[in-house]
Symmetry: C2
Amino acid sequence: MTAADDDEQAPRRGAPAPPQRTPRGTLSREVLLDAAMEIVRIGGADAFSMRALGGRLDVDPTAFYRHFRTKNELLDALADILIEGDEPLPATGNARADLRASLHQLRHSLLRHPTMAAVILRRPPGGRAYWARANHALGLLRGMGLSPEEATALYQTLLFYCLGHVLSEARAVAAAVARDRRPGTPTSTFNPPAHQLPDLAAAVPFLRSDTLTQFDTGLDLIMRAAPA
Amino acid sequence: MTAADDDEQAPRRGAPAPPQRTPRGTLSREVLLDAAMEIVRIGGADAFSMRALGGRLDVDPTAFYRHFRTKNELLDALADILIEGDEPLPATGNARADLRASLHQLRHSLLRHPTMAAVILRRPPGGRAYWARANHALGLLRGMGLSPEEATALYQTLLFYCLGHVLSEARAVAAAVARDRRPGTPTSTFNPPAHQLPDLAAAVPFLRSDTLTQFDTGLDLIMRAAPA
DNA sequence: ACCTGAACACCGTTCAAGT
DNA sequence: ACCTGAACACCGTTCAAGT
């Protein structure tokens, strides 16, 4: 029915070559998070498992459970690291520009690990960085003259738009990476069946040309609802 | 670091009591899709596996592979069934109302299987119903006087907003269901750390009060960008 | 105190063999 | 032609035992 192609699993598994043995007593949340991020960076989200993590640190896979309650707890911590990003929250004094920049930071950081985005977005939010970003954005919107209620509504709209956009971009990037590793897999998503669907056909030229510009266009549309 | 609670796995696995033996030669994509949907309806997305599917139809788990290439291909087909929903695309003649109704349909249908939403949204889109909905919405926007480019931009903004919102709602519903099955698990998401974050504290009363109204509020904000 | 190792109860998928 | 069954190469997590 769907022209479902191959899938994004299997061609890369496990972590290669433990770089250095982890001495007894030096395992910590931080060490585990770093190793997990490395595994994801090298092999994508599918390469990450308890056994890969243990292998990378040359430690028994179950040593993990001294430091995290479950794998999902580690994923939540990874999520918050990505949501935080590398840069401080923008504070130029221009509320509109700062808000836009914060959402750009979020998008950019999540897209640095595109195979991770879907994994992270299926977890409930609630990390430190997540709330810090919310507080920052809400403050900016209130500074633009919006009431708490208006600010909340507009922030949620921006955030949900941002998450949907990033999820969609990340899927495309992850699929492209998978295709690259194992060529010959067709991409169905951008051969939409435009016959019989004239309005879709007319839209095709404007799909996915430049995703950053597209992202901004949506932000602008939503921000029209804010006072100048 | 995060107040990560328990997780949504494990308490319900496998399909209970095969309702009737499936005679040789009657297995089909449709039968498999129906059984898969039943498993998800009863036990959530985690309950679905090849072995559960085989068990439910009283058939060897690997018989599946005569009809689908992979599990993900079946997930894509399930996704398109949910995206299609039960009702026909709205066509009252009021473009604005029809567009809103289509997005409500999509939200409603995805939320009927909340544990499935995250699974489905991590797959690339591209099913028949997905494109049909896109074509329908684009036609409505063009009918409101927008150019193909404007219509595409506005539709994508609405769609990404809708997906982000539904993903967020579905996570909350799925977590609530899991909490119900195994009580005592706290919800961190709606105890945001409002101390030290004054603008977040001011927003708390307006979070998650009525998610349908909230959804509509965002749609309205975005639709302000369209001509009256 | 911290880690190991075996074990448990699962996965998705392949392929030779059966009917 | 269609399905079975064993097998492969994995999972996340628990718990008694070791150091």
